[in-house]
């Protein structure tokens, strides 16, 4: 319990009328269940949320539901409030949420995608909970800085200013390799602290490749892996302020070309079209691929693989610094909620409750949101990957947000991928592609910034 947020601190100082009884209930936590729930709601011993019903809308799989059920049960017990949970499919979430907002039926607490922060904060759909968090005594420094900063907005820029949500998770997108394959071929294992250069990486990938034996160096989906190449080479999709599209720089073009050449020149990937399908994912799971990306959400599946694997940093371009993206999903409070304090409290439970975080990392779907827990028990926990440290470093140190996370809409960024296939097929050079595409993306980014009124 030390060093992380206990339920007691979550509740302390929320300023709700029945704070004392809340703490009393907290003392009885787990020992006297009969005293809580509906019965306490009607009596004077109930928590501050007695008789209140909050709605919580999210998307997620079985494991997430289980973890949140625990956190919600604990929250209900502490506060006497009821939580009505609405779960949707990942595909439908955005549409349903939008419909709920348009219809004026915004759930009290709900998932907020990074890419929606600006739009939802600026239009007043989600609540500025900075004050509530302070009042509740939650020390946000216990949660990953990136995770909290992702939901900050100061009126023009995402990443600074008031807090509009807390992270549900941070998702470091790391790089993995098939250790068993290396050992069988007698190829020296990659160093977890010293990334390959691009040239080294391509060389090793070529050594691993042997199509007759159904074995390939790698097979990377461009939409999720190119970031590592571009950023490590000093390029980016747009400038810091997200005003100018910068794909037409030499660093960017060089990175894209190198990425494409793994396929075109080296032939280290299964086949040309497969970059856009799940095929390489299936091949990786069958042990046919040397290098493949790994996110925390993959861990539960990959632990069942019949080969050993581990994490390494992405290969580096001319900056010499490894790079990759770090995703996140937020939990926000509706601006129209009638129970702002309770709703904020619920968001804090879901984001930072110890038990909940423990059950999520143990299920192998995310790393803990709590820094101390991640660096402590998570690192020491059994099971692959051995180099869990890489996830931590991405979360704390070198992970970056995807380019569209901080803009009004992702349309400008989405455009980059629409016509990418000819570059990967070698029909168009990277330099030509980015030069020809820049004006179109710039126009869409301009339009997005104009719509945002910034």
């Amino acid at each position: 319990m030390m060093g992380s947020i206990s339920r007691r601190t979550l509740l302390a100082g929320t300023g709700i009328a029945a704070m004392a009884t809340g703490l009393a209930a907290c003392g009885a936590d787990g020992t006297n269940n009969g005293n809580s729930g509906e019965s306490s709601g009607s009596s004077t011993t109930g928590g501050g949320g007695a008789g209140v019903e909050l709605t919580y809308m999210f998307r997620g799989g079985e494991d997430e539901r289980k973890a949140y059920d625990q956190a919600i049960a604990a929250f209900e017990e502490q506060t006497g409030a009821k939580v009505k949970v609405i779960v949707t499919d990942a595909d439908q979430y955005r549409t349903k949420l939008q419909a709920a907002i348009t219809g004026g039926q915004v759930p009290d607490v709900f998932y907020l995608e990074q890419g929606s922060v600006m739009a939802f904060a600026k239009t007043g759909v989600v609540k500025d909970i900075t004050g509530d968090i302070e009042a509740a005594g939650l020390d946000v420094s216990k949660v990953w800085k990136y995770g909290v900063d992702s939901y900050r907005f100061d009126g023009t820029r995402v990443g600074q200013g008031a807090i509009y949500g807390l992270p549900k998770d941070v998702g470091p997108f790391s790089f993995g390799y098939n250790k068993t394959m290396f050992e069988e071929l007698g190829i020296p294992l990659p160093d977890k602290d010293k990334p390959y250069t691009w040239a080294e990486f391509r060389d090793v990938a070529k050594q691993l490749t042997s199509p007759e034996d159904e074995r390939w160096g790698t097979g990377l989906n461009v939409a999720w892996n190119l970031q590592a190449w571009v950023w490590s080479n000093g390029g980016d999709w747009a400038d810091e302020e997200r005003r100018t599209v910068t794909i037409d720089t030499p660093e960017f073009a060089e990175a894209l070309q190198d990425f494409a050449d793994i396929q075109i020149i080296d032939g280290s990937t299964p086949s040309i079209e497969q970059a856009q399908t799940m095929d390489t994912y299936q091949r990786w799971m069958r042990g046919q691929i040397g290098f493949f990306p790994v996110g925390p959400w993959d861990v539960s599946t990959y632990q069942g693989l019949d080969f050993e694997w581990d994490l390494i940093p992405y290969p580096v371009g001319k900056t010499g610094e490894t790079a990759t993206w770090l995703g996140s999903l937020g939990i926000s409070v509706s601006n129209s909620t009638e129970h702002a304090e309770l709703a904020t409290q619920l968001a804090m439970y879901l984001s930072a409750d110890e038990e909940c975080q423990r059950s999520l990392y143990q299920a192998g779907i995310q790393i803990p949101n709590l820094v101390d827990m991640a660096k402590g028990e998570y690192l020491e926990a059994e099971g692959a990957p051995a180099n869990k440290e890489e996830f931590i470093q991405i979360a704390e140190d070198y992970g970056r947000a995807l380019p569209a996370a901080a803009t009004w809409t992702p349309e400008w960024y989405d455009d980059f991928w629409v016509g990418i296939q000819p570059v990967l097929d070698g029909e168009v050079t990277a330099a030509d592609y980015v030069a020809q595409l820049q004006p179109q993306m710039q126009a869409k980014l301009d339009a997005a910034n104009m719509d945002a009124g910034i």
Binding site: I101, T277, D414
Partner: protein, 304 residues
């Protein structure tokens, strides 16, 4: 004047009650239609003249959304893709008519085959799309495994811009086959036998009997199927969204409704999405009207 002299006949209580009951029966679907179809329809026309992100109130911008549509390459391309998919309609009609003719004969297992062909129609489109997505997998997919048996190295169907649309057409034809077949079957069974008997007496070949009796007699069904298929085909969405969630390589599988949906919910442009939906609606209306006109002219000629 006559109104004052001629007392309206007093309706019986029973009569009025029956009317009330009837009206309430009609009211239910009518209110539903007004609330869930006409209401949103009218609102979307209004929304198409506004800049509306669905988070704040719409602001009036006149025809700007329509101007934007005509200069938006994705709008043109997705509209083109949508009409390309309609190649599947005539294919589906021919195949389903052939099947219906086969099923119309007395043969063993007829009921079994009729049911089998109808299974895709009653299956969930989402589930079917996921199955076909697997079947089209370039490496492990059923389609390419079957092709490999006859020595063909199949493409990676959904990732190649040359094959993604044909792949989706094949699936759509397969899915809709049972429905058209059933309608054709019903139509075939209502063709009077006397016509065939007369033709046979006159020595008409089976070829001529088909083209001069069967085909004209099932023409109303063909017309119905063409009209409804085009209306439904212009709204193709689910399979696109599931099988090619990013609109396919180089936007080659994106349908117009998929693009409208993306603009509305991902790009916060409900106003623009509404404008494109209105354009699509007008287009479908014009095509349908044209079909009715052609149909009316043809049947008129037939009578003369």
């Amino acid at each position: 004047m006559s109104a004052t002299t001629e007392q309206p006949r007093r309706r019986s209580r029973l009569y009025r009650r029956e009317h009330l009951v009837a009206a309430s029966f009609i009211a239910l679907p009518l209110i539903g239609f007004l609330a869930f179809a006409i209401g949103p329809f009218l609102y979307s026309i209004y929304a198409s003249f506004t800049n509306w992100n669905m988070l704040t109130a719409p602001t009036w911008i006149g025809l700007a959304n329509y101007v934007r549509a005509f200069s938006d390459p994705y709008f043109i391309q997705s509209l083109g893709n949508t009409f390309f998919y309609m190649i599947g309609i005539p294919i589906g009609l021919v195949v389903s008519l052939a099947l219906a003719l086969a099923m119309n004969r007395r043969m063993p297992g007829r009921a079994f085959f009729r049911s089998i062909y109808y299974v895709p129609v009653v299956s969930s489109l989402a589930a079917v799309s996921i199955l076909w997505q697997w079947a089209y997998n370039g490496d492990f997919g059923l389609v390419n495994q079957v092709l490999a048996l006859v020595g063909i190295d199949g493409p990676n169907w959904l990732a190649d811009k040359a094959t993604v649309k044909p792949a989706l057409i094949i699936m759509a034809v397969w899915k809709g086959l049972g429905y058209s077949m059933l309608l054709y079957l019903a139509a075939l069974q209502s063709v009077p036998r006397s016509l065939y008997e007369a033709a046979e007496l006159d020595g008409a070949s089976s070829f001529r009997r088909f083209f001069h009796i069967t085909l004209p007699m099932v023409q109303p069904v063909t017309f119905f199927l063409v009209v409804t298929s085009i209306i439904a085909g212009s709204q193709i969405f689910t399979e696109i969204n599931i099988m090619t969630p990013t609109g396919g390589p180089e936007f080659s599988s994106a349908s117009i409704v998929w693009y409208i949906w993306r603009q509305a919910f991902s790009s916060l442009s409900m106003g623009y999405a509404s404008a494109m939906a209105v354009l699509l609606g007008v287009l479908v209306f014009l095509i349908t009207a044209f079909q009715f006109w052609i149909n009316a002219r043809n049947s008129h000629d037939g009578v003369e």
